[in-house]
Amino acid sequence: MKLTVLSLRKSFGDLQVLSGIDLELESGRVYCLMGPSGSGKTTLIRVLMGLETADCGDIIWENTVSALPATDTATSDSLSSDSVASDSAASLPAANGKAGKGNNPTGISPRFAAVFQEDRLCEAFTPVENVLLVTGRSLSAARVRAELSRLLPEESLSRPVSTLSGGMKRRTAICRALLAPYDVLFMDEPFTGLDEDTRQTVISYILEKNAGRMLLISTHQEEDVASLEAEVIRLSSR
């Protein structure tokens, strides 16, 4: 799977958040989206997921092109892709073929999973139930429990999420995204609230589970780039 973004622009009222973003991303690679606070990382991820509609520009998944209003490409965010290291493209699970929303209204869109800036967990339910919510019938409760226990203490798996610490919630959200069926995974600052050891454990788990699929992570930490063997996409401040 290949994602091509051409001259993407997005503003909220008078505030121009994204101006002329161009990107090319491929499956089997990890990309770190970096930039100062307010540079539009979250907005770009939301636009790519179809949660926000871009003002203009093209988002192309595979061969699917969506034409948006005429693009003014005169200005562009300074955007560079510093290849730190990259794996070769790997085979990818098939997209399930549901039509997406946002900038790709008529095409076939890949299946997304996400770790949002907030955990977005169902607080009254256990971590196991939160994961089962998104996994469909493909995974049993026992399997989900086994996967979660790699990142969380066993005793926490049967407790409502509302009783867990911030770090535990974050790991639940990460596990939920990785166990869901997806083609492209977006993670918006996923390591917030995790200590260094946990961070490394989580990164290893992410790399193991995401194998062969496209992963875009927004982060402020340069060391994450090396740990994730990622390519850097840098957004400049407005």
């Binding site: 997921m49 949660l51 549901k98 299946r111 997304f112 999973a113 996400a114 949002f116 907030e118 977005r120 169902c122 607080e123 009254a124 339910f125 256990t126 196991v128 139930e129 089962l132 919510l133 998104v134 019938r137 493909s138 995974l139 049993s140 409760a141 026992a142 399997r143 869901a180």
Partner: protein, 263 residues
């Protein structure tokens, strides 16, 4: 010696109740007129005389079935229409004048109208329905509107099926509003249902018994029946609220248990 604060909190409430029962008995002794006020002892004796009779149980069962039926029908319709109004704002606007009317018209006016329309037999069902429906409807809309939009976005991204979305996202937001609405509506359904029975006097009902107490100036019986109403409505309220409160956890646990065990 230091008093155990836990022991005191356990005994505090019964002691307060006993204090007010004593004041009530004292007032009855001072007034010394069984038509104006009977004491708790006389009311208790009247209740003990009622309990062994078949008429007592028939009246309680009749009113319980009618009022509960009205409540449950209103609960189901309030949920359904509230859900539909949340989904389709035009329907909400369309129903708005009817809801305003239902909330502002006195129950007594409805009772007279219901006597003409449905007769006294199903009067309590009709009145309980009319009183409860707006409360459940309004609380259903408010509960659904309180759903976290961020969780709905999450469900959209992960393509969570509609039924799961309801169970995991909408229901936890809806339940606190529904529980709060039901607490008020359950009490109101009994108050208005019995009041309607007193006006309509359906055969073998609590309302008829209260009416007879008025005719014969039998204050002891009036107090005894009032106590029965309080007990029956409280039992129904507790059972219904416990059922509703257990729904959310049960839904989640059932979901996990439903999973196939191979993966």
């Amino acid at each position: 010696m230091k008093q155990n604060p836990h022991n005191f909190s356990v005994w505090r409430r019964p002691l307060i109740i006993l204090f007010w029962i004593f004041i009530w008995q004292l007032a009855a002794w001072l007034i010394h007129n069984n038509i104006i006020l009977v004491g708790p002892a006389d009311a208790g004796l009247a209740l003990l005389r009622l309990i062994p009779t078949g008429e007592f149980w028939l009246s309680v069962a009749h009113s319980f079935v009618k009022i509960s039926l009205g409540f449950l029908l209103a609960f189901a319709c309030g949920l359904a229409f509230g859900g539909a109004a949340y989904r389709f704002p035009l329907l909400k606007e369309f129903l708005s004048p009817i809801l305003s009317l239902l909330k502002s018209i006195p129950v007594a006016s409805f009772v007279i109208l219901a006597l003409i329309w449905v007769g006294s037999r199903n009067l309590a069902v009709f009145i309980a329905f009319l009183v409860v429906f707006p409360m459940i409807y309004i609380n259903t809309i408010a509960g659904l509107q309180s759903t976290d939009p961020k969780l709905l976005e999450m469900a959209q991204i992960f393509r969570v099926p509609a039924l799961k979305k309801f169970r995991y996202i909408y229901l936890p937001a809806l339940l606190p509003y529904l529980l709060s609405g039901c607490r008020v509506a359950l009490g109101m359904s009994w108050k208005s249902g019995v009041a309607a029975e007193v006006i309509g006097i359906p055969d073998a009902s609590i309302g008829e018994q209260l009416y007879m107490s008025k005719i014969y100036l039998d204050t002891a019986n009036l107090f005894a029946w009032t106590f029965v109403i309080i007990v029956v409505s409280a039992l129904f309220e507790r059972a219904f609220l416990a059922l509703l409160g257990g729904l959310q956890r049960k839904g989640g646990a059932a979901h996990e248990a439903d999973r196939p065990q191979s993966a």
